[in-house]
Amino acid sequence: MDHSGISVLFEGTNFTRLLGGLWVTVKIAGVALILGLILGIVLGVLRTFKNRLLRLILRLYLEFFRIVPTVVLLFLFYYILPKQLNFNLPADQIATLVFALWVGAEMSDIVRGALISVPKHQRESGLAIGLNRYQLYRYVLIPQAITLEIPATINLATRVIKTTSLLMLISVMDVINIGQQIIEANNHTHPTGVFWVYGLIFLFYFLIDYPLSWWAKRLEKRRLERTNG
């Protein structure tokens, strides 16, 4: 073995291709998180309203995305629905859509939980100064809910980023898919390349997710200190 496995990472354009794949991963996760966050806040607010039918529908939506595994969702949206409903979107957009809907579902639960844990007196003193429902949510309830929900939201983001590893199953050119291609192309010349490529991918994921979960822990700790002290 005259070629050391690590060199596979730097041969030709391999490294930039892997970075390109990482960018696809990050972009899908990022856009899905932003869209999902907005969707989740809207749905979470709606789930605190009194209308039973609305609450039931949104509850079913949440349970659907919670119970059905993400792989199945991806297949459903990529292979099955387009045929049935006759629409065609590129794989990365399908992936963004599925992830956004999933994030929206999970966020709606986080937002609802945070909103109903804002003390009842806050709502009443908001009403007492004449705020209407929109103003009450906008200036009093949502800002307080957000500080409660930030750690859970960051944790959701780390889960989303990890789950992007499923994207290769619908042939999105994400970092794992590209890594796989590089491994296969260099299998003869660099049999140990697989460890290096996956090692690098591991490092990528770690570098993104670890700071996020560290941040979530720190915020949660600070919040607890503040409420206790």
Partner: protein
Amino acid sequence: MADQILQVEHLEKYYQKRHVLYDINFSVAKGEVVTLLGPSGSGKSTLIRCLNGLEPYQKGTITFEDQQVDPTEKNWQQIRQKIGMVFQSYDLFPNLTVIDNIMLGPTKVQKQSADAARAEAIQLLQRVGLEDYADAYPRMLSGGQKQRIAIVRALALHPDFMLFDEVTASLDPEMVRGVLNIIKDLAETDNMTMIVVTHEMNFAQEIADRVLFLENGKILEQTPSKQFFAKPQTDRAQEFLDSMDF
């Protein structure tokens, strides 16, 4: 009747099946200070909360400034700008600074300009001796300071009528007087109309024009303050005063 600001007629309130207010009738004249006294659980908070629409009532009418209230949420939202309410718990918005707490109603609900609202908020803070705390967050303040600011927040909307529900009940004893003095000053200087629920009998006696005595959801008597504290009309009220160590 022109000087009546509030009239309550035949008001009945249930929490689900539970009947908590029975045939409540009373009125409040402009500039009058009414204290609402009664044992714990008699329905004082429930009654005062019905008066600004925080609790729905099942029967009867409330007439505010000569308009019978049509109890929809939208109507109450309009009326609440004219009825200030301060609660027992310190309920400033923790996400906003003191000045933003005070300015929220005037700027968002009444669409005053930020400059005008700020100028008035500062003035009100000066009145309660807390102008140095304008940019502080509520968590940095003592209970007494928070409660004074909660009063200022209500006043910033220029209410015609104020409701106070045991605003000193969760304060440390040394904080109580400062808050009560503000309420007293409002009554004396501004001639503010108000209903005050309190356990502070000395204060009630100082401030009240009239006492409503409530027990088990019924108004047992409405008596001018001097007379009530000298000799109430009912034995139950006398027992209540005795039990308050007064």
